[in-house]
Structure formats: structure tokens, C-alpha cells
Point group: C3
Chain length 337, copies 3
């Protein structure tokens, strides 16, 4: 129903190359990713202040449109929006207007007509945020908060921010993404971002049954054996085992998965001694990561959470600013009947 | 259980004739309706600003009391209140205090004691907002957000604002309200407002089974045949077919209804060429309106949504101001034990 | 699972004896309770202003963590936080992250990492707020909004504020707490507060089946007969009959309970003529209190509600301020990996 494929870069960028939506990392170059990280860095400092507020989105209306429920992700966007001084409206779309038989487009056009400035969209269907940005409400800044298996670009960017904070940059780094690549909405975004930012090597470590067919075309090395894959790593990114997304017997058992691909202190010792451990959360302790590692000195998992707010503040303020600059230029053509 | 009938004008007006609640259009004269429209006009401009905020309700507490769930209406009031800088508390009363056996009155008195300034009330029983304003918490500004089949006065006023914007005024206009008049909570309010504002002619177009008995006493002409009723119209207001409110076989079928009373391009061509098309939303495409018309150049449906925020800001700020003026005068008698 | 017993005073106080969490009245001396009441008094005036807002928590993030649903209590904390200018995040934890198998500790550590400043915690297990303050997130101010049968300290403090307002102080007062002491989370807190503040006599009036064994050790006199217990009272505090908490036949029937322990005008006439009547709400009219008394001139039940906002503003602002003072001192040791 919702088409997606290659996204034209012009969909999320203004004519001057500024961000106006944030849908995917596809088509964003190293300069843009670096600009997002630099902006996020400036917001890290805001989170440490007594008054954690900046007026960048003051008087703006941000609508959290969650077609798929995710309290955790919604909370981070809600906090990010409030710290930018925006007014926030939370809509759980499953239970609201669409139940009266209204089409998705009509719901969105109505929200736009209420002078909404930004939609944060979470949807189980890949491509839904693109569809909205391209077809329905191009004048509202669309932020992708996770669509199907396709992308979760703010998660990938908060990972990049965490790596840069701890490693000083990306050059020469060896980074592995471990676990259920197939069902992950973040693994693709991560691999793309790591390559764009110029790491030395990206590895994926997973059983063949949890790897998409085209995985190597994304620019990464495949390892089926974790002991081998962990060698010389600077960064290991564990994925959450999406137990709820698995259909059928793709893997023997949780216990078997943990034995082969779970991260424990022993496997971690095969990486570089200063290798950092990342995980998008929520953690399945004892399924994909051992508590000793999750809570250990190499874990930066809670830093990722802190960085998540900063990255969301960054893309929200940048996309809003891009929309405004485009609106100023497009004024004569903007009038709607 | 809840009585309603003729509302005394003094219920929603102060001694000086200022609005202090907004319950119904009954008893509001042309000067008052015009004042609401003028105030709303000034808020239209606020919605177009970068910073869509005015400080009129700053530090005020607005409670959305929805005894009947309506995400769409609640969202418009929530946005209106936030743009007036109020603090907003959303209470879905079905699931909260009343489940502990507390009476409606006690719940409301408690909310009043928390220093609430305004209740936005949606209730399935006609007259509930009047009852609250008259009996329970007269010192809290009550805004009717739809009660039973009785009234939905902010919807009617946003319709009037939309007509005035597009037609410059009301004199000489011929306006029709089409569809399920019987189950509509807005049709009565619309007919009254149109007559008060001095249009030339109000028509209702509907099958006999969807018309209340006393309809002509409201001051309108009845047409059963749409082809005839559309002639010379300046404004056609389609009603939503309240499929969920219908009991029994009042109409043959959706398809039959659409054939007879659905608005398509052909029927619209019988009206004046600049006739505008209105609908309160959410639209049932292909049930009461054809997509070509809903999305066409004569449709002002999305303008209505935009105007809905402005009208709600207007009545909320006016009623708050009326309450304050009354409180200042009534101070000595106000002390409660 | 969650341990609790005697709480070390140092858990909720800084080294200088300032409040940094608000978990229980145990260990708080008369000076501290008086400081809370004085601070609350200053906020009463804020609730009477047109602009009911002070900037004390501006830019702070307050998370309402309700592991047990209570719309009424949540609303009072939400309003209190908003009037202190905080950003508020409401999390109903039953339906969110924990359903993905995440541990309570991980959920809390994540919220802390989002730079949350305060958790308002409601939990069905006694000791949960203490556990969080002691073990999980000591750097986040924890406010107890009711834990199991253990405590509901803001409720007790709003009762004290109401007594002081109406009686001028505590010396010489005779106060009774009537009803289901056994299942009450507030009775213990009330008895402790009354004794700390120096009333002349605290009585509990209840059937033996609704009294905990150790009740007299809290410092109160037990009365089984209400006619006797009401004599010479200055203050009578009725408890809500927690019908939903009762298991088995602890009392013969609601009607029998009402006959013996329900407060009616006749029983009230046995107390001093200016005895005030209190109840935490929501009221079960005709179960533990007669409508004539609840709505009568001696009732201060709605004053309690108003005072509830002021007391919550007081403990929230005091605990925040205590946290800040501790953080400044502890800075070198605060760095987390």
C-alpha cells in the first residue's frame, strides 16, 4: 500500500541542502551527519543545566503520531520537544480518529490545518513517514521515529554521537553490529551511518537465519562466529532480540542464541581492551547481553539514552529551521485552497 | 436525570452581558456572536505566527472533562488552551474517579478545589454542561464541547467564521444544511446561528426520517429533494452521517443515501458557482460527500479545522474574562465554607 | 522482593538535614514538618492568583511513575508540578516498558539518563519508593505518592495543613482517625505527624478487625465505640472504606459499618461544637459519612483538596532544592561510568 524504495535526497532536504524532514540516513552525506552530531553536542550541555530548556521551538506544535505504541521512544521525543519549548500533542492513532472510518490522509490534513508544525511518526509499515512527507503534508516537518523494519534514524544517530564522544571520531574504528539484523529497524541505519562517517570496518555478526540477503551490499563484512568477529573491535553494538517480531523457528532457542551470540565478559575480552559496548534498549538481560557486561565499565548504554534526547532535539530543531527557510522562499506558491 | 430545556440567558452571561460560560447559542444575540467571530479573527493571525502563543490564559488551569471520548475535539481544545498559554489537564472520566463510586458532583467539586479555572465538557447526555454551570461549579467557566444531540456550539461558530471569511458577511446568503439533522448535535446550533446572524434563508435538506418534528420552528425551510434544495445556494453544509448513532432502519442503505443526499459534483453544479462546501469532519468519503467535491476548489473543509482552533481560543478567553469580572464584583459573597 | 523496615533518616535528608526525597514522615522532626507547612502556606496564595505559576521548577523534568493507577492523585501532582513550571511526563508503567521484559531498575535508570529530576512514585508494594531512592536512582528526587499500606505522606501533610489553618496550631488538640485503619496507607502517616506536631491526644476509632496489632505503639488511644470516642474532639478524620482492598468478611456489611462507625450529624454533635470534619476523598456517601455532614458547615473536605496542591508544591520544591545542594557538594564523586 505504501510505496518505498530509493528515497530521493530532495525529499528530506531543501534546495540549499538543509534538513527539512528526517526520514532516513540514505542520501545524507558526511557533512550533514556531522552537522547533526555537532548540534546534538550543543544540546548535551542543555541537559546538564538546571533549566533544561531552550526557546528554539517555542510556540510550535509538535504532534507525536504513534500508529504503533512505544512509550519509551515517545517519551524521549516528548521530552526533547518540551526542552525545545514546543507544545506537544500525543496522539495514539490506533484508538482515535481512524476508528471513525477517516482515512490516514484526512487525519493528517486535519492535524496540519490545526497549524501543526511537526509530526513525529512511528508506524509499523516501512515507508509510512516518507509517504506522509512526499504526498500528504510536505509543509509539516516529518521526523521518522521508526517505520517497520526500514529505519530508525534517530537511534542510529544517537549511537554515532555516543561513539564520537568515547572515541573522539570515526577514523580507523572497527565496529560490529551483533544479533538479529534481519528484524532490526536500526541495523541498516547504523551500517549506513558508520560507512558515511568513515569508520575503517563495519562487521555484522549473526546467524545466517537472522541476516537479510543483501546485507553485504550495505558495506559490511559478515561474521557467523562471534569469537572471530569480536577480534580487534573498538565498538560492539548489540541488537535487541525482537522476540515479538519473530515468526517461526528462525533460531533454536533463547539459550542457544545466548550461548552463541550473547555478549558476556569472556567474549568481550576478545575485543580491544577499551572497546565500548552499546545496546539500543530495552535490554533482555541474559538473552543478548550478560548483566556483568551491561553494567560494566565498558558499557555506554545509559550514555546512549542521554544522547538520544540531544540527538532528537538536534534533528527537530534543524528540520523546523529547514521548513521555515523553504516556506519563506516558496511563499507565493504555498497558498492552499 | 439531567434536566434541560430553555436555558436562561443569565446562565451563561454576566450581569453586564459578557460571556462567562459557553453552553449554547440560545439566547446569544447578533452582537455577541459577532464579538466571538471578531475575537476569533484576531486569533487566526496567531495561528500563522512562528510563535503561536498569547499569554491570555497563562497560569490558568483548563481541565478537559471528556465523559465521551473524542480525540479530535479534545485535541482542538487542548491546542487552543496551550496557545492561550494555559496549563491543561486531560481527564477521561470514564476510566477515572467515578469508577471508585464517587458522584459526578463530587468529582467536579474536587477539581474546582484544585483551583481549576475552566472545564471543557463533552458528555453523551444533553444538558450536562448546563447542569454543571448552573448547579455544581458556577465559578468555573464551562465550555460545551458537545452534549448528546443537544448542541455543539463551538462547531457552529467555526462554521459561521468560515462563512464570513469566504462571503464577507451573512446578509442575503442562502445556506443549506444537508443530511442527518435528527442525530446531529450541530445542526440546531447552526440553524440558530445562521438566523441570528441574519442570512436570507436557511434550508434543511434531508429525508423525513432524519428530520426532527419541530424542525421548522427553528426557522428554516425543509427540502426533501436535494436537486431542488441546492438551487441558488451560497453555502452548503454537509453533515456527517452518524452511522454509530443510528438505531434501526431509518434509511434504506448507505448507497441509497449517497444517491439521494450525497454531495457530488453534479448536485453541486446546481448551486451558485461560488457556493462553498462545508463539513464538520471526519468525512465519510462516498457516504455523504464525493472525494472530488471534498478535495475540490469549492471545499473549505480544512479552513473550518483551522478556524476551529481560533473559535475555541475566542470563547475560552472571553468566558475566562467574564468569570474574572463577575468574581471581582461578587467577592464578598464568594467565600465558601 | 522490596525490603522495607525502619528508614534511616539520612535516606531522605541531606547532610545538612534538608529534604532531598519525600518518602515517609518517619524520622522527620517537628521543625521539618513545620517548614513543609510554612512553605505550603506560601503556595496557598499562589493558587489564589490569576497566574497560578512560580518558576521554582522551570526547566525541570518531573516524571509521574504510577505503577498503580490513580487519576485523582496523579492529577494533583501534575497540577502541582505545572504550577511550579516543571515539564511533566506521565507514565503508566503497567502498560509501558516493563511489558517488554525490562526490569524496574532498568526502566528507572533509563528515565534518569533522560535527565529526569524527580520521580513521583505510586506503587502497590510497600517500600518501593524507598528502594528506588536508596538503591536505584538516589540522584533523582523521589516523592512517595502512596506505597502499599505503608504511607501516603503528602496526604498526611495536607491534613496537617488543614488542621493548622482551622485551629491555629496543634497544641491541646484532640484528634481522632476513624474507620479502616488496617488497610489505610494514610492513617499511620497521620498518627505520626499529629504526635510529632504535638497534639494533646490522638485516638483511633475502629472495630478490632480493622486495626493493626501494633497500633498503640504508634502513640494513640484505641476506641471501639464511636459515641465514646467522639467526645471532646477538635478534629475528626474519617478514612475511606477501602472496599476494593478488603479480602474476606472483616466487617459484617456496609450498612452495619455505617451504623457503628459512619459519621452522621448525631455522632458529630458529641464532639466539640467547632470540631472540623476531614476525609481524604473520594467520599463514599452513606458508607463512612452522611451527606449532611460531608456538605455541612463543619466539613473542610474541599479545603483539604486545595491544600493538597500546596503541600505537593512544597515538598517537590524542597526536595529539588535539597538534591541541588547535595549535588553541588558531591560533585567529584558523582561521575558515573
Amino acid at each position: 500500500m505504501i510505496a518505498h524504495g530509493s528515497t530521493s535526497p530532495s525529499l528530506q532536504l531543501t534546495h540549499e541542502g538543509r534538513l527539512k524532514h528526517f526520514l532516513t540516513l540514505d542520501g545524507l552525506d558526511r557533512a550533514m551527519l556531522t552537522a547533526i552530531l555537532d548540534t546534538a553536542d550543543s544540546f548535551i550541555e542543555v541537559g546538564e543545566r538546571t533549566i533544561k530548556k531552550v526557546p528554539l521551538l517555542r510556540g510550535r506544535t509538535v504532534v507525536n503520531l504513534f500508529f504503533e505504541s512505544s512509550t519509551r521512544t515517545r517519551s524521549t521525543f516528548e521530552l526533547a520537544a518540551k526542552r525545545l519549548s514546543a507544545d506537544v500533542l500525543n496522539l495514539d492513532i490506533n484508538t482515535s480518529a481512524t476508528s471513525k472510518g477517516e482515512s490516514l490522509s484526512d487525519t493528517l490534513l486535519n492535524l496540519e490545518a490545526m497549524a501543526s508544525d511537526m509530526f513525529v511518526v512511528r508506524h509499523s509499515q516501512s515507508g509510512a513517514p516518507h509517504f506522509i512527507a512526499e504526498t500528504v503534508t510536505p509543509g509539516v516537518a516529518i521526523i521518522n521515529a521508526g517505520d517497520g523494519r526500514h529505519a530508525h534514524p534517530t537511534q542510529a544517530m544517537l549511537d554515532m554521537l555516543t561513539i564520537r564522544q568515547h572515541k573522539g571520531g570515526f577514523e580507523g574504528l572497527k565496529v560490529a553490529v551483533v544479533g538479529d539484523i534481519l528484524h532490526s529497524r536500526v541495523a541498516r541505519s547504523q551500517i549506513r551511518a558508520l560507512n558515511t562517517l568513515g569508520v575503517a570496518e563495519v562487521r555484522v555478526i549473526a546467524p545466517a537465519t537472522l541476516l537479510p540477503r543483501d546485507i553485504e551490499s550495505l558495506g559490511c563484512k559478515v561474521e557467523y562466529d562471534m569469537s572471530h568477529g569480536m577480534r580487534d573491535l573498538d565498538v560492539v553494538i548489540m541488537l535487541r532480540l525482537q522476540l515479538e517480531r519473530m515468526e517461526g523457528a528462525l533460531l533454536p532457542s533463547e539459550r542457544e542464541f545466548y550461548r552463541l551470540y550473547g555478549l558476556n565478559q569472556e567474549k568481550l575480552s576478545l575485543a580491544k581492551p577499551d572497546c565500548i559496548v552499546m545496546h539500543p534498549g530495552p535490554i533482555n538481560r541474559g538473552v543478548e547481553i550478560e548483566s556483568e557486561v551491561a553494567d560494566g565499565s565498558q558499557s555506554v548504554i545509559l550514555n546512549q539514552v542521554t544522547n538520544g534526547i540531544a540527538v532528537r532535539m538536534a534533528v527537530m530543531s534543524m528540520a523546523m529551521s529547514g521548513q521555515v527557510s523553504e516556506r519563506v522562499k516558496a511563499r507565493p506558491a504555498e497558498v492552499r485552497t
